[in-house]
Assembly symmetry: C2
Homo-oligomer: 398 residues x 2
Amino acid sequence: MGQGINDKVAIIGMGCTKFGEHWDKGSEDLIVEAFTEALGDAGIEKKDIQAAWYGSCYDEFNVGKSALPLSRTLKLPFIPVTRVENLCASGSEALRGAVYGVASGAYDIALALGAEKLKDTGYGGLPEINMSYGTKNRVIFPSISAPGVFAMMANRYFSKYGMTIEEGKRVLAKISVNSHRNGAKNPKAHLQRIITEEDVLKAPIIASPLGLFDCCGVSDGAAAAIVCRADMAKDFRPDPVLIKALQIAISSGEELGYTKWDGTYVEATGRTAVRAYEEAGIKNPREEISMMEVHDCFSITELVTYEDLGISPRGKARNDIEDGFFTIEGRIPSQPDGGLKCFGHPIAASGLRMLYEMYQQLQGRAGERQIRDPKVGLTHNLGGFPQMNVVSLVIVGL
Amino acid sequence: MGQGINDKVAIIGMGCTKFGEHWDKGSEDLIVEAFTEALGDAGIEKKDIQAAWYGSCYDEFNVGKSALPLSRTLKLPFIPVTRVENLCASGSEALRGAVYGVASGAYDIALALGAEKLKDTGYGGLPEINMSYGTKNRVIFPSISAPGVFAMMANRYFSKYGMTIEEGKRVLAKISVNSHRNGAKNPKAHLQRIITEEDVLKAPIIASPLGLFDCCGVSDGAAAAIVCRADMAKDFRPDPVLIKALQIAISSGEELGYTKWDGTYVEATGRTAVRAYEEAGIKNPREEISMMEVHDCFSITELVTYEDLGISPRGKARNDIEDGFFTIEGRIPSQPDGGLKCFGHPIAASGLRMLYEMYQQLQGRAGERQIRDPKVGLTHNLGGFPQMNVVSLVIVGL
């Protein structure tokens, strides 16, 4: 591997819309809102942006998927704007493009922005999306759904670690309760209300053992980051946030061997974590990471991610969850902004939304949700399925 | 702007399939073929590839557009693979991702690959693609087509520079004749045959004044580049090809002001060219560029591009075309491999296909089409329409 991009690039401005059901707005409105906040936050003007990367899974303009929705909406005349797409990691991929663009020396200041208007698409989750390979000539998994595969993961996990379904569901319920507890304090979250374990356990089942409150929201929203060369970041603000590590891994499933993989972990998260900790110089993540936003598309995903990240030992995330290790008062607060579960999940905006929270927490600007003296924040995205996915990890610090 | 990426990154291996109607192959077959050639050409193994960028407008796998079609096809376990899409510049965007990834220090060796299986999609040109904005809630240009808008450009150009339709059509015919003359010698070209001016002039009209032979092919194909740090490139081969400039510009149309723009040029190409020449240290492109592959989606596009690139003065490309300036024996041979017109146009493969020709020409490996002692090659892509587009320029040299 190369030398990494550790400390070469800093974030100097961020913006994020309220996530939710924006029936009265188009993706253009959301893009403008997130960008305007980021620009004001960085204290720069639009003309200072030299290049941009745009993440979106659904936003189209005229002739297929391009960067035109961002370029045209923001009237960014003639600068390079690139469209990236990698499932739920699309927002982190936009950041990665901007970070490499700056670290390469090609640009001094670049924009990463992710936006989705999911509510306009009739998006109801993965079953509506075509399940084909190549150019629609080979159908696999014709009846799979995201809740379905993650439910299988939950059942496998409960079985492997000797939990009954009732025990397991109660552990998972605590995950969603924590997210809603944090998100209820967040004026930008989609679903701003406290829920109880009983609410979770009594909710309608989506795919057993996962119920309605084990599943994240489907939201509209946009989030943006402005990055620049680390050596010029303090010209813009006293508290720029440094990119300490940025790693992506893609797993197409076949390399695992389905007969060997028991469905209770995501291999790509573990691989990405090892690389990201090395890049950031983190020896003991359980001791050194201050806070996290992980990809809780389903409650079981969050639990398994704690183990995949090496925070909780295999099979022991339950203990940490029950001990309050991941609450806002705990040792490593997780989902301080409410997570996908409560803040919402406009696919390509989510990675940058997570970063927005880590950024504001590091700067001491998280208001009621402020974590005491955080040093290092981690964001994690999982796009796709447990066995076939794109995983991104970003580690940031002051 | 930053310092540019001039001479930081080199190409050490390339591959390209035959373009054409591959009814007996899937995109997987094309990907494997282009990749295998590139790997062999670089003399490395698959495990040496540390990250990859994939350009495709149509290739899908399972749950929407991601990098999984490349990752899964090549069995690239757990390395980062990113999907980029920017209309007809998608292949150049894949290269740009790989180049920035290496220039940033994140990776030593990276892959860029573009592939399309257009023939499987029922692709018949832009009219089949939905013409909407945002999330399909606002229709503009409901009846526009690519031949339609480029035909308007041709008519405007003829009018502005005082040519009758018959005169103009005869100039354009020479462009297609040149591409077929070169491509007929290319065993990988889609349409390997010589055509005459009379063939072009007598062909069925697609959108007046453009006839069938003024329009590029619709093809299946894939092309790949392996790039590495310039300082290690000679460890792999004696004749690596250096990236001298890599520039992208996106134009959303509104910045031009439709009342001011007369439709006879592409502003983004001109802007990109200025930046690329500066990055490559080129003072006089007409003297310093040895050869080109430009985006001849239509014959008029190629003519206007000669002027936009500053090779021919405004309104004077006709003279250069009539003087044979762009033929294989001319001062700046253009489309030595046959261009989009004759080699074919599998959208996201085209940028890398152009580079494949420049790379082999620089290395003296272009066989019957070999240009004498070329020093600097240029590739140009135009995605979208004359007024709203993505333009990429790559300049390479030894």
